[in-house]
């Protein structure tokens, strides 16, 4: 627990990266707040307002079906963030469990699990997610599955490596000698000590998953119409770029700022916690976007 509170306290508000991150996050939050106050229906089709410009009734205009862009932006933002947090949550639990098991048991269990991780890492992440989402078919649940299938690996490799170095420390030996069970040792002794790098991994992972979700939706294998995701909005906006360029500008700006805020937070965490990242992870990150 002490390690966790230490992890939390290192994010001092004074650091420039954190301040910039708050500024970046401000605009997406503003969109959510404005949409809440504006209270328009994101799905209400109004054929009189097709591609309408900025007005009091529609602060950011309307799309090709006369739907309110601000309301759709807010819905897309919530969906992107929700899917991102969900994927990272499931991926972290799955990956950390696998990594702990592989590191703790070693031998065949380790070889088997790590070969599996190697195979997943043998695909450019976005490509595997696209292929899985396409094969699984439409639906947010399938989208989450496809993204988790790619996302667990980073957590697994990281926690395995950390457990390997902790396994032979005296305090773990003492816990084993005490007769503590694996789950107890894992949650009370191992996890708090590996929380810092995992937190950094989670923050960069969140940025990658948000871009990944939007990318999949942009390609038509993620969130399906009429639901709004930032990716589907960019896709629809691209088609109407000549007529109404702002339709592609808005969702992109919001997505960009959101990802930038998360990346800045990750940077700040990494610098404060002094964590070195796997090169392969960073290279994958460049391919993800």
């Amino acid at each position: 627990m002490k390690a966790m509170s230490h992890t939390m306290s290192v994010l001092k508000l004074g650091s420039p990266a954190v301040r910039l991150s708050v500024v970046c996050l401000g605009i997406p939050l503003l969109v959510l707040l404005a949409a809440f106050l504006h209270a328009a229906d994101a799905h209400a089709v109004d054929l009189d307002a097709v591609l309408a410009g900025i007005s009091v009734a529609h602060p950011l205009g309307c799309d090709a079906l006369g739907r309110d862009v601000l309301a759709r932006l807010a819905e897309g933002l919530q969906l992107s963030l929700g899917i991102g947090v969900l994927v990272i949550g499931i991926g972290a639990v799955l990956g950390i469990s696998i990594g702990l098991a592989a590191g703790w048991f070693g031998g065949y269990v380790d070889s088997l699990l790590m070969r599996l991780a190697d195979i997943v890492l043998s695909f450019p992440g976005i490509l595997l997610a696209i292929a899985l989402a396409a094969m699984l078919g439409p639906g947010v649940d399938k989208l989450v599955m496809a993204l988790v299938a790619v996302g667990w690996v980073g957590f697994a490799r990281l926690s395995r490596a950390q457990v390997l170095s902790l396994k032979s420390t005296p305090f773990v030996d003492a816990a084993v000698a005490n007769g503590s069970g694996l789950i107890y040792i894992g949650t009370r002794h191992l996890l708090p000590n590996i929380a810092a790098p995992l937190l950094v991994e989670a923050s960069f992972g969140l940025a990658a998953v948000i871009i990944g979700e939007a990318g999949l939706s942009f390609l038509g294998v993620g969130v399906q119409p009429p639901d709004a995701s930032l990716g589907t909005m960019i896709r629809e906006g691209t088609r109407l770029m000549l007529v109404s360029p702002m339709l592609v500008v808005w969702p992109g700006v919001v997505l960009f700022l959101l990802v930038m805020a998360v990346n800045l937070l990750g940077d700040a965490l990494r610098d404060r916690l002094d964590v070195r990242r796997d090169m392969r992870g960073a290279a994958q990150g460049a391919g993800q976007s």
Partner: protein
Amino acid sequence: MFLRIALYRLLQAVPTLIGVATLVFLMLHLVPGDPVDALLGEMALPADREALRHAMHLDEPLLSQYLHFMGGLATGDWGNSLLDQRPVLALMSERLPATVHLASVSLLLAVALALPLGFWAARYAGRRQDMLAMGFSLCGVSIPNFWLGPMLMLVFSVFLGWLPVSGMDQPGSIILPAITLGTALAAVLSRMARSSWLEAMGSDAIRTARAMGVGNGMLWWRHAARLAAVPVVTMFALQMGAVLGGAVITETVFDWPGLGLLTIEAIQRRDYPLVQGCVLLIAGFYVLANLAADMLGMWLDPRQRRL
């Protein structure tokens, strides 16, 4: 010694490639329900369904399907596209040059941008120049390429009319896709260049060289550059693989007729054998790029030569 380890690593890649092929094989069985239904619709005639099932070997037991699939891969029979009945390999080889063209121009662009930027940031570490360069890098990592592409198109093709909107027929058509694909690579690479250069400048070797009276320019460009090259070159090789993943989206945005666009077209038409072929080919390149990164690292830095 180097050759022996290189050979060992090469052999290690074989089970990985087999695993990759197995995963790609299993993907088809993720399709909910019957893939034949998904392809032909539920209204199809029973005879047509049987014919397709037989053509895709779906009427055989799973193990036999698997052996057939793997045997086909090894002998160069990657199956036929369901829609135009042409071999998957032929379709892919037609599209490969466009992707190679795009990927190499993007990588060149990324290096040309990232090395000076990384050096500049390292030289003025902690100062305004550094902030500027790393700010660019942060934007580059955070900007999704499926948005950067349309924005570049909007500015340079629609408003200014300087460059063609999409396709690859006109002389300037490579510029926007290459910038779109290269930006994220440049961002990651410049960060890596900056941190490696800084780390190299702080090393004992540089301290010794400085003590021996080596000039500043020589220190930065000769001694430190050589030390910093190892991680930068490794990262570059890793990106040769990652760029193919990014190409799927960039090619779709710009209608660039490469392997990535072929993959998306195949997905949209539910041409499963073609999807499998494309995914497998790109993943194969990716594995080889990772292998190349390993080997380059070992070649440049003998400390990495471990079995």
